[in-house]
């Protein structure tokens, strides 16, 4: 089959690899109909996540049709149309039973590696480095799906791929980012990053009752999408305006009640701190550039919530712990527990609360994946989200 593979820093290649088969009794094999490129794939391609090997199949947002099931699979059958959540969960461990699926204790065969970097290991993830298990990804024609009884979500035939594909990652991720803000109604929420996850965090904050939602980015076309499609009430282009000052103005001096970092480890900034962090990162003195996170912490109101859904890989410098402690902030974070949100969000899609396909700007065949990465990474042609089709 064809698969998009990591070849080293800044290089991906579509190549021929063997077809996946069942390895364990709870596995299924899915023929992939649609798959997407995620912002976190860029962290891998940019070389900021350790433990990648040349030839690793990329991709963790995918859906398709079940074509093979292991002997112990009960809940899905050959022919079912399914969306596959990116974290692989076993459904049986303490974490899974407490709906913390991305912290599954049993699905990362490289737990020892993750333990060294993070202190304790996390779940397996498709196509997302060997730290998360070394599972081949979904930017391919087929994928093996472990624990098929627990993970894939069956989706009804009447909903097209484009409306349900993002249940695999970015819609639940954005939703969890908003949910962690503990919205009761009437809040002001600021969202750093108007990429696909940021767009869904904005849309979710709106669904959960936020009154004003402020999107922050440097690309006007993304801010326009945030206003016109996702439901942001205000936008700030951080290359043109001072973010902290503008947020103070927009909130009567209080600061937003909650802030969402939908940027992560490769943030940009027009200020000198960008040069500082970019240099330290290049010299491998820190792994992540926490520019958006620092700003979000400084901006949030006293006692507010900092919700971190942008991906961080390792260590950051100059973390404003004084602000967190003295101003009584709450930091909440996590790789999304996708399985927790898939069914309720599918129902919201069916009810018409949200049509997640609004973020898609580019569609192309899987064989064009390298072109898709180039468009997405360099924000060419007003790219927000690339969907690859088989």
């Amino acid at each position: 089959m064809l698969a998009n593979t990591w070849q080293g820093r800044n290089t991906v290649k579509v190549q021929d690899v063997p077809d996946p088969t069942i390895l364990n009794r709870h596995d299924a094999v899915v023929r992939i109909t649609s798959t997407a490129i995620c912002g976190s794939d860029l962290h891998l391609v940019d070389g900021y996540v350790p433990s990648m090997l040349k030839g690793d199949v990329l991709g963790h947002e995918f859906m398709g049709e079940v074509v093979e099931t292991g002997p112990d699979v009960r809940n899905v059958r050959v022919g079912d149309r399914v969306v596959v959540p990116f974290p692989i969960a076993c459904g049986q461990c303490w974490s899974c039973q407490h709906e913390m699926f991305s912290l599954c204790e049993n699905t990362n065969p490289n737990a020892w590696m993750a333990e060294k970097l993070f202190g304790h290991p996390t779940a397996g993830i498709y196509g997302y480095s060997h730290l998360t298990g070394g599972y081949p990804g979904g930017q391919a024609q087929y994928a093996r799906v472990p624990f098929a009884d627990v993970n894939p979500l069956k989706v009804p035939a009447e909903l097209p791929d484009e409306q349900v594909l993002f249940l695999s990652d970015i819609l639940p991720t954005g939703y969890m980012g908003a949910e962690m803000c503990d919205l009761q109604g009437g809040e002001v929420v600021a969202v750093w990053g108007a990429g696909p996850v940021g767009q869904f965090a904005i849309a979710s904050a709106r669904m959960l009752g936020a009154e004003r939602i402020i999107a922050i980015d440097r690309f006007d076309y993304r801010l326009r999408m945030a206003r016109e499609k996702a439901g942001a009430t205000d936008t700030i282009n951080y290359e043109q305006e001072d973010v902290l000052e503008t947020l103070r103005e927009l909130t009567g001096g209080r600061g937003p009640d909650a802030v969402i970092d939908a940027v992560g480890m490769e943030a940009h900034s027009p200020h000198i701190d960008y040069a500082y962090d970019r240099t330290k990162q290049a010299l491998r003195l820190e792994t992540d550039r926490p520019l958006a996170l620092r700003e979000a912490i400084m901006a949030v109101r006293n006692g507010g919530v900092v919700s971190v859904i942008g991906v961080y890989g390792g260590f950051i410098d100059k973390f404003p712990m004084g602000a967190v402690m003295n101003r009584g902030l709450t930091i909440r974070s996590g790789q999304c527990h996708v399985q927790r949100y898939m069914q309720p969000l599918l129902e919201r899609i069916q009810r018409g609360d949200i049509d997640p396909s609004f973020v898609i700007t580019h569609r192309m065949p899987l064989s064009d994946a390298p072109k898709g990465y180039d468009l997405f990474k360099h924000k060419k042609d007003d790219c927000v989200k690339v969907v690859l089709k088989n």
Binding site: D19, P20, L23, N24, E68, V78, E105, G127, H130, R144
Partner: protein
Amino acid sequence: MTVGRTLSRGLGAFSLGLGAVQLVAPRRLLRATGYPPRGSSPLVMRVIGLRELGAAGGLLVQRWPVPFAWMRVAGDAMDLALAGRGLRARDVHRSRAMATFGALVAVTAADLATGVLITREAPAQKDGSLGGAKPVRKSITVNRPREEVYAFWRDLTHLPQFMHHLEDVTDLGNGRSHWTAKGPANTRASWDAELTEDRPNERIAWRSVPGSGIQNSGSVEFVDAPGDRGTEVRVELAYEPPAGPLGIAAAKLFGEEPEQQVSGDLRRLKQVLETGEVAQSEAVAGGRTIRQRPAQPLDAGEAQQVRATSNGHDGRSPARTDGTTPVAETRASDGSTGQPEAVTAG
């Protein structure tokens, strides 16, 4: 700090300084000690410098650097031999060379004293019966009742399902069993073991029968985890590796460090008991930990091999004993082929 350890630290610092000079300025040092550089002598000096730095590392970093202290004594013997032979050369600066020889003798005395002291002071190995094997302790929490975890372990034939290096355990009856293990580079070892303790739902201990090859022993304890989180499994293993401490060092080089191996084994135990299978990714399939494959699907032959060895595909009994998930059932029940292999459609 004890006298031996203080001395060994001092000698470590001395080794560090000397080694650095030997490595950087071998010719100058040769002249200063009365031996004008000749032929390969600067190269020899550099090699000795490397040896000194190695000794320094061990002496300064290790808690009880017994082998390194004796390594220095061996090094002294070598230096004395070299210096003694060099004394006869024509171009030697005799008085300097004699002073150097004297200093070497003094250092040798200090090294000998340190070696003796530190060997005496180093704490005796806990389990004397194993002749110095270092026990490995690891624990994990398994989200299953204590009785079930105990029962699974008590049937020692289950161990190869989660202990990667074990190929087979056969129950010989009367608390005795026969174990076969895979070693590095396709070696194989086997031995007989006996249960030394069996407290139902609490503790199991075993040891190899004396004179049965590899000396080893182990124990496992089962404790209720707080908050109804299942069972804490605490394992202690001690073994005499085939080639002694050198064997351990070699195994570490190839990434098969005992500590990591045991924690991997416990993770697999948890996987088998909680989910009924050992998690497999294509990158690690076939027991690869350090030298992984790229995350790509396996070719048909490799996949077949993994299926044949992975838990649940070889007819071993299911992990669960409470019948909640019939993990060993085949698809025969829903009318398909009845083969324990995957069913393909389309």
